[in-house]
């Protein structure tokens, strides 16, 4: 049943795309998708951490004792999250400001621990990297899609640029907290419909 690296990668893009198929990592999904830019930024940050933590966990999987497995995974993940945090502060500060508290919270994103536990701790380095990359990109895509929808409807803009005429009255519900939930719920429904075929 061994899959090729490509398969490991591709599955994250559709078959197991979080948060639609694997209902994981909802908090950042809901919180930062007010705009596309935020969504993609968050996705990329998560993907970065995911790839590296997967690699490291996979590389260390033989020497980590089972009892402190979770703690070790968390250290690995937290390290990379902090790396991302520092890098973002240094290079994309405005985005860091917008994503705020959610960057450190990548550390508790269940996708990361989930993949470390379910995949990286059982598979080789390359496969884990491919898996991390696939899931990470899938997550980014999902966040981007949700971000676009909410930004276009809720603010009438896309990447900050107005897409409708001035007469458009934005459906600001979409950028509010409840809008995030409803929007994600409806998208999940669409994904379920699409998955049927």
């Amino acid at each position: 049943m061994a899959k090729t690296l490509t398969q490991e990668f591709v599955k994250g893009l559709w078959e197991e795309i979080p948060p639609f198929r694997l209902v994981l990592g909802l908090c950042p999904t809901l919180a930062v998708t007010k705009s596309v830019e935020n969504g993609i930024g968050m996705g990329v940050a998560t993907a970065f951490v995911l790839v590296f933590s997967n690699i490291l966990v996979s590389a260390l999987r033989k020497i980590i004792p089972a009892k402190v497995r979770i703690a070790c995974f968390i250290i690995v993940i937290a390290t990379f999250v902090t790396v991302v945090e520092l890098l973002m502060q240094a290079f994309t500060y405005p985005l860091f400001l917008k994503l705020g508290i959610f960057i450190p919270l990548i550390v508790v994103n269940c996708i990361l621990l989930g993949r470390a536990e379910a995949f990286a701790s059982k598979n080789g380095v390359l496969a884990s990297a491919a898996d991390g990359l696939g899931i990470g990109i899938g997550f980014t895509l999902a966040l981007g899609a949700l971000g676009s929808l909410r930004e276009i409807l809720g603010s009438g803009t896309f990447f900050g640029k107005a897409v409708f005429g001035p007469a458009f009255q934005p459906f600001s519900f979409m950028v509010e907290a409840p809008g995030a939930f409803v929007c994600l719920g409806l998208m999940l429904c669409l994904m379920n419909l699409a998955g049927k075929k």
């Binding site: 009255q169 934005p170 459906f171 600001s172 519900f173 979409m174 509010e176 409840p178 409803v182 409806l186 429904c189």
Partner: protein
């Protein structure tokens, strides 16, 4: 096979008291009629437009969803029309057409049909719709601004907004009698207090709504408003004012009593109604929203499943 005679076999009971969803919906609409007609008279053609658009679009959404979900077409039961009508009663007469359509979409599709249609919705569909629209288009829901084109022979201010911004002094000239007679501005179907009360009494007497909820809701408002008023009469208006303004009466008779989002047992009904009333007053007096009925009732809708767990011990129940 024409000659073959086959009996109908079913389970007891074989009689039925004749009630059905359809008559329930239509009687509720009938009860809303006085207030609606008043709104039509007061606001003219725009009100007619909003009402007819809301009712028809609600029915169309229902039909579309029935088809998509491949279920029986249920527009005949009048529930969609009723939701459309109640929604129309809650929005200003000046609402643009697209807002009405989005509103009925939210009410019928998001708040009702995806929960499996009538009976499944945990929230009152019209309330969800109005809450969403209020969040999105605050300006359109600012009755003062929305109804600026009208000219009436009474104070042209939305009483609750005036109260919020300028304190009780600003609303002194709203007498309970005038409020009851509809001498206030507001949404399409809410100003005419007397009509709403008449409709509500009709529904209660006919047993289509539960008096416990309506009464306790009004009582909750009355008592809370009274306490606030006693504490600081300069900032907080009296109970009569609160009873007859905004969505209060509408809430008591048409919103809080929606079947599927309200409790059925006696004590829960009282708590539910009173809780809604108290919360409404808290929002009106210390929250940021001008009228608290919508959100207060949504909160109570959420609490409904838990409240309804309070129930009498069943006959012979053993523990």
């Amino acid at each position: 096979m024409v000659d073959q005679k086959k009996f109908t076999v079913s389970h007891a009971p074989f009689w039925h008291d004749g009630s059905c969803i359809r008559s329930r919906s239509y009687h509720t609409m009938l009860a809303a009629l006085p207030a609606v007609l008043f709104g039509v008279v007061r606001y003219g053609m725009p009100a007619v437009g909003v009402i007819s658009l809301a009712v028809s679009s609600a029915m169309i959404w229902e039909y579309v969803m029935n088809r998509i979900m491949r279920r029986d077409i249920t527009i005949g039961d009048g529930n969609a029309a009723l939701i459309g009508l109640i929604f129309a009663m809650l929005v200003p007469a000046s609402s643009p057409w697209w807002m009405v359509i989005i509103g009925t979409f939210v009410a019928i599709v998001v708040a009702k049909q995806i929960y499996g249609g009538i009976g499944g919705n945990p929230f009152h569909p019209a309330l969800v719709a109005v809450a969403m629209l209020m969040l999105s288009w605050k300006d359109l829901f600012d009755f003062d601004a929305a109804l600026v084109n009208y000219e009436f022979d009474f104070a042209m201010a939305y009483p609750l907004a005036a109260l919020k911004h300028f304190g009780t002094a600003a609303v002194e000239n709203f007498t309970p009698g005038a409020l009851l007679m509809g001498n206030q501005i507001g949404a399409v179907g809410t100003p005419f207090g007397l009509g709403l009360i008449a409709g509500g009494l009709y529904l209660i007497v006919r047993g289509f709504v539960r008096w416990e909820i309506s009464l306790s809701f009004l009582a909750g408002i009355f008592v809370t408003a009274f306490i606030f008023h006693q504490a600081d009469s300069a900032r907080y208006a009296g109970p009569a004012f609160h009873l007859f303004t905004g969505y209060t009466l509408m809430g008591a008779f048409f919103l809080a009593t929606e079947d599927s989002s309200s409790p059925v047992h006696f004590i829960p009904m009282l708590i539910y109604g009173a809780g809604g009333g108290i919360l409404t007053m808290l929002i009106r007096n210390i929250g940021i929203h001008v009228d608290g009925v919508v959100f207060a009732l949504l909160v109570m809708n959420i609490a409904n499943p838990l409240l309804d767990k309070i129930r009498p011990k069943a006959l012979g129940k053993v523990f």
